[in-house]
Every structure is written in C-alpha cells, then in structure tokens.
C-alpha cells in the first residue's frame, strides 16, 4: 500500500469505522481516538496489512482491541496519556436515533453486540463476521438471532426506554 492508496483508504473508511466502533463500545470520542490510533498502526505495519487482505477489518479489529485494552486500564485506574493521539475533542450531541441504538446495544452481551454491528452496520456477511470474530458461522447466526430479538425488545418497550448515561425512563 503506497501513500496515495493509504490516503484514499483512510479518507474513505475513517468515518465508517468510527461509527462501527462507536456502536461496539458506546463512546464516540473513545471510538474516534482508537480508530485514529489504529490507522497510525496500520501505516506503520502496512506490509502486513497488505498481506492480510482486509485492511478495513484490520483497522476495525485493532481499534476495537485498543478500546477494550483502554477500558481495562481505566478500570485498573492507571490509564496513561497516549502521546500518539490528537488533542481531546468534544463531539456535538448525537441524534436521538444514535442515542437509542447505542444505549440499547450497550445492554447486550459484548459478543452479540459485536456480531450485530459487524453484520448490520459493517454489512459483513455471516462468514466474514465469523472470520473477524474467530468463531464458527453457527455461533454468529445464534448471536445475531438472539441479539436482534433482545434489541427489538429494548427499542420498542417503553418501560425500558434507555436514556443517555444509563438512566431509565418510566
């Protein structure tokens, strides 16, 4: 991947991957930081990226792992400053649709959430979701089925209308 190819790849896929990782982890600012760092690593490892054959999947997986790793460090109370990242930014408030979907996804088990995002937001077929998450296709289908059912209930049940911050309206 040369500079022009990388720049095209970065420009065309950045927003899409941020949206996908946002849906997976529930925080857009955190998603944007992790995706930015993942693209830096992608350029640093561009030769292996070429061999992998799925650069966007590589960036998405790296960003997701970074987010999980950061979350673990936050939990342990020792998250270091990340010098590779841009200055912190504050995003504009997201739309109601974003809030409702992200809040509902956060209620789901991590595996179901990731499968739903990859299939419905990243538009990956089941076999590619299976490859990216490292599980059999049957497992992906089961996660999608259960995840969709749970999500539908969360998005339509007025008694569980989840609000930003995890509060619940009644």
């Amino acid at each position: 991947m040369d500079e022009v190819e990388f720049d095209d790849f970065y420009t065309s896929s950045y927003a899409r991957v941020v949206g996908q990782v946002h849906a997976m982890i529930g925080s857009r600012d955190e998603a944007e930081e992790c995706v930015q760092e993942a693209f830096v690593r992608a350029w640093a490892h561009r030769r292996s990226l070429d061999r992998a054959g799925h650069p966007e999947a590589w960036v998405r997986t790296t960003a997701y792992r970074l987010a999980v790793s950061r979350w673990r460090r936050v939990v342990k109370g020792r998250r270091p400053g990340d010098r590779a990242l841009a200055a912190a930014t504050t995003s504009a408030p997201p739309s109601e649709a974003h809030v409702a979907l992200v809040a509902a996804l956060k209620e789901l088990p991590e595996a179901q959430r990731r499968a739903l995002v990859l299939h419905h937001l990243a538009d990956l077929p089941v076999h590619e979701v299976a490859r990216e998450t490292g599980v059999p296709e049957g497992t992906v289908k089961a996660r999608l089925s259960r995840g969709r059912a749970a999500l539908a209930a969360l998005l339509t049940d007025p008694t569980t209308d989840t609000l930003p911050g995890g509060a619940t309206s009644v």
Binding site: Y10, S95, A100
Partner: protein, 261 residues
C-alpha cells in the same frame, strides 16, 4: 424490531462532526512508531550482546531502519543546502525529562552553552561545544547522585557535525582507561538520526549511557546515569526509557535536516 431499521438510520447519520487527523500526519506518526519499534528491537538485542561480550565490537555503519530517513542524515553533495544555524526559541530540549531536580526541587530548564556532566570514553569531557555555532543544554540532577543531561549543538554544516560524531565513535571504539571501561558501543540509524551510543561502566556497578544523535548539522548529546552497568536488564531498560524520553526532541531536530520540516 420497529418498522424502520435503526441500523440504517444510524449509518445515515453517523459520519458527522468527526475530527480526523490529516492523512499525512497519520503517516508521519506511523513512520515514527515503526522507527521506534525497530530501534527498540535493535537496541535491546545489540546491547545485550555488548554487555555479554564486555568489549567494543566492530563499528556498524547502519542498523535499525533507513527507510524514508536517509534524507535527514546525508546529502549527496550535489545540492546547495542552507543549514539552519540557530536553535529555535521553542525547541523542546527538556521534553521527557523530569520537571524538577531531585536534590533541591528547582526546575529543569534549558540554558545556552554546556558544562559537561559526565566523562567521555577516554575520561575526558563527554562532549565539547567550543566549535559549535549554537548550543543549548539542560541538566537534571537526581536526589542523591547522578542524573541526566542533554546538549544540542549546531555546527556550520552537516560535514562538521558528522565529523564530531565520527570522532566520538572512534574514541569509544578504542579507549579504555583505569577509571572507566567502555562496555560497548553501537552506531545505528534510528528515529531519523545517525546515533552513536556507548555505556561507561564503573567498578561500583554504576553506569552512564551516552548517546550522540545527529540530524543534519545538529547533534543531540545525552548522558543518563543508572545502576547495573553490567546487568543486561538494567541496560536494556535504560535504553528503552531513554528512547521514550527523547522521542519528541528527536522529532523536533528535523528542522536541522537537509530537507527540513
């Protein structure tokens, strides 16, 4: 689910108000990350070997990576280059150093000129700035003994700067005195700089890591005191910490390159 697809709604509106870095900046950071990873791998392995052998090894002209960096290090002699001869006022010489001295709490600041803090490979001054056009130094003193210091020296041109680094390398390769033993040295290209480094070891087990890093017509000379000069783990750890501490300084030295940033 409801009659509209929440994922489609999400997709249709999810790309607003993002703050991506410019693509060239992403690549620059990726290059820097790659250089640093390579440098650490080279430094760890090589110094481990140097410490085990305990004597200087053959000078290596290059190590690490030169991919994309050679323009910072040498000109081909066919182009007229105007070398920068003044250190920028905002040069971040103290970046990565402690903010205050350990022995009295005073701030660690950058000053013009240089007073050598450690002996060189032949027990003489570690670095001399008398023939430099401009110089800036910073010294950190620890709570009890030792510390860390840096001096940035700017020379008339690349040839003058390279000659100083070559002389240091030759000295480190051949000189051992009663007072101090050069445990080993290496010459590599890393983080866009031509680097000579060696460890002065003392009978007490103390050590001083010396590193001279040249970019264009400027040389950054650093010394770092540590304990465990003959301990592989201590040397490797000191190298890794020093690489992390000085990364921003090396980045800023690109203003002295033949093709400056």
């Amino acid at each position: 689910m409801s009659d509209h697809d929440p994922f489609e709604t999400f997709k249709a509106t999810m790309s607003t108000d993002l703050h991506p870095l410019p693509a060239h900046e992403v690549r620059r950071r990726g290059d820097r990350l790659r250089r640093r990873n390579t440098a650490l791998a080279v430094a760890g392995g090589t110094v481990a070997a140097l410490v085990a052998v305990g004597v200087p090894v053959a000078l290596t002209q290059t190590g690490g990576t030169t991919d994309g960096d050679s323009g910072l290090l040498a000109t081909d002699g066919t182009e007229a280059v105007t070398w920068r001869t003044e250190i920028p006022a905002d040069f971040p010489l103290t970046a990565g150093m402690p903010e205050t001295n350990g022995h009295d709490g005073s701030p660690v600041v950058a000053r013009e000129g240089y007073e050598p803090q450690a002996v060189g490979p032949c027990s003489g001054p570690a670095w001399d700035v008398s023939d430099a056009i401009d110089s800036l130094s910073a010294v950190y003193t620890g709570e009890t003994q030792g510390g860390q210091d840096r001096v940035l020296s700017v020379f008339e041109d690349e040839a003058a700067a390279r000659a100083r680094v070559d002389a240091l390398a030759a000295e480190a390769a051949s000189c051992t005195t009663d007072r101090v033993e050069v445990l080993g040295y290496q010459r590599v290209v890393e983080d866009g700089a031509d680097v000579v480094r060696f460890v002065n070891g003392y009978d007490t087990g103390e050590g001083v890591l010396h590193q001279a890093s040249r970019v264009g017509n400027a040389v950054l000379y650093e010394t770092t005191y540590f304990n465990g000069a003959r301990d592989d783990t201590a040397v490797t750890s000191t190298l890794e910490n020093a690489a992390e501490d000085r990364a921003r300084v090396l980045d800023a030295m690109c203003v002295f390159a033949a093709d400056p940033c």
